[in-house]
Amino acid sequence: MKGYFKKISEAKYYLKGNINFKPTIGLILGSGLGELADEIENPIIVDYRHIPNFPVSTVEGHAGRLVIGKLEEKRVMALKGRPHYYEGYTMKEITFPVRVMASLGIEQIIITNAAGGINESFVPGDLMIIRDHINFGFNNPFVGFNNDNLETRFLDVSNVYSENLVILAKKIAKENNIDISEGVYAFFTGPTYETPAEIRMIKFLGADAVGMSVVPEAMAAMHEGVEVLGISCITNLAAGISDRPLNHDEVIRTAQNVRDKLSIYIKKIVKNI
């Protein structure tokens, strides 16, 4: 574990040398949603591959750059592209960027993602605030995270998603006539999309949407004392909810169609945090 903290601190000092302010809000931009990063003013753009120890994302639609600058007068840092568990990274690797952002001082993080809709009221293009999650990844970023502080050894995850941020996000949606739902996000490892039987199962167990990210990052952020807001873009209906086969192109296309709506929404949230 010492090695891990040392790696975080190496990445932190590398980035600190590149910026002259303390970022306060972190953003993780999911599949097809990365362009919000282009609206960041006076950006300092750092390729993941230049940051010491940073995992490099390999998937199409995930660019792999850290963009640091001003958005709505707030100092933000955005991950454009994220490493995923299904790419073969360890849980510690996929949560590494969040820990680096936390070490640089972010106080809130907004995690966006593309998700499959399970709740029958969803249609592709809908936005869902994550109220809670089900970790179906059969793994946990804190496995092996031994330290003497028992409070952080057995982490309480009953409130990963900040109630204050949920209230704020709902208020802003209402003020701006943005339709928004709330729900439970289930994390599956992927990279296969789920089978209809798996979707029936996770629906029965209480999930509204399903995806291959968010949960490890959200838990790590919470562990670091960062307030978390998760917003899913329902890019497709999950297997069996619709008869149509699933494909990544459709996910990216829907995400791109919703991008403007989501960007406006996130900017308003950032402004009001």
Partner: protein
């Protein structure tokens, strides 16, 4: 470490050098079904240990040979014995033979297994066409970098088990007087059988049968674009009253008793299935 593409090329070359006609149908023969491989005509039999890059199976009842030849006038390749995740193989090793089958020209995978029954309508000896699965192994053979030469990054699993083939096996079963059930198969890592409470939970979340194989192989077969048919033989009921427990011997005994029926069904299916 050798890249999977390189490994596949080596294994493919070795097999193609050893066979005359390339098979279009692949068979994975589970616990107790190995004797079906003995019915393959003009068979070329290759020990797994002689095949470059192949893992070697360790479990009793799983022989470990690739048998290539004719069954019901169709060119087939059969795995007599398979690799299980619980033996300690990686998911990549467990599914490597499926990749190899695809590489030598297999278009349809017929995967069989022995399983536990969860649905109370099932019974030891019942034959079940797999309609869908739930992956409870906690792992996925496609985790890691994707090779687009082998398949898409995000395979759709909404129709992994071919509906036409399921229909066909029901038709075939009716014709020869063998009842075929349909069911959702849940795969666990094993090697422990599920506890009673786990079995009840799996039933509650929608599974009809439970076993320790098949799902990784099917995921990779789907990734490679193969047509898939799965058939399970129920060897014991995983949800039962009382305290009676099951042993591997009992599983083998039911598998033995059901074998003639199971083999009859598979052979009739292979006879009827049309391969373009």
């Amino acid at each position: 470490m050798k890249n999977i593409l390189v490994k596949l090329e080596e294994t493919k070359k070795y097999l193609l050098d050893n066979i005359k006609e390339t098979p279009k149908i692949g068979l994975i023969l589970g616990s107790g079904l190995g004797t079906l491989a003995d019915e393959i005509e003009n068979a070329i039999i290759i020990d797994y240990r002689d095949i470059p890059n192949f893992p070697v199976s360790t479990v009793e009842g799983h022989a470990g040979q690739l048998v290539i030849g004719k069954l019901m006038d169709k060119q087939v390749v059969a795995m007599k014995g398979r690799f299980h995740y619980y033996e300690g193989y990686s998911m990549a090793e467990v599914t490597f033979p499926v990749r190899v089958m695809k590489a030598i020209g297999v278009e349809m995978l017929l995967v069989t297994n022995a399983c536990g029954g969860l649905n109370p309508d099932l019974y030891p000896g019942a034959l079940v066409a797999i309609s869908d699965h739930i992956n409870m192994t906690g792992n996925n053979p496609l985790i890691g970098p994707n090779y687009s030469e082998l398949g898409p990054r995000f395979p759709d699993m909404s129709d992994a088990y071919d509906k036409d083939l399921i229909q066909l096996i029901h038709k075939v079963g009716e014709k020869i007087g063998i009842k075929v059930h349909n069911g959702v198969y849940v795969s666990i890592s094993g090697p422990t059988y599920s506890s009673k409470a786990e079995s009840k939970m799996f039933r509650l979340i929608g599974a009809d049968t439970i076993g320790m194989s098949t799902v990784p192989e099917v995921i990779v077969a789907k990734h490679s674009g193969m047509k898939i048919m799965g058939i399970s033989c129920v060897t014991d009921m995983a949800i039962f009253e009382g305290t009676e427990t099951i042993s591997h011997e009992q599983v083998m005994e039911i598998a033995d008793k059901t074998r003639p029926k199971f083999i009859n069904l598979i052979k009739s299916f292979i006879k009827e299935v049309s391969m373009q």
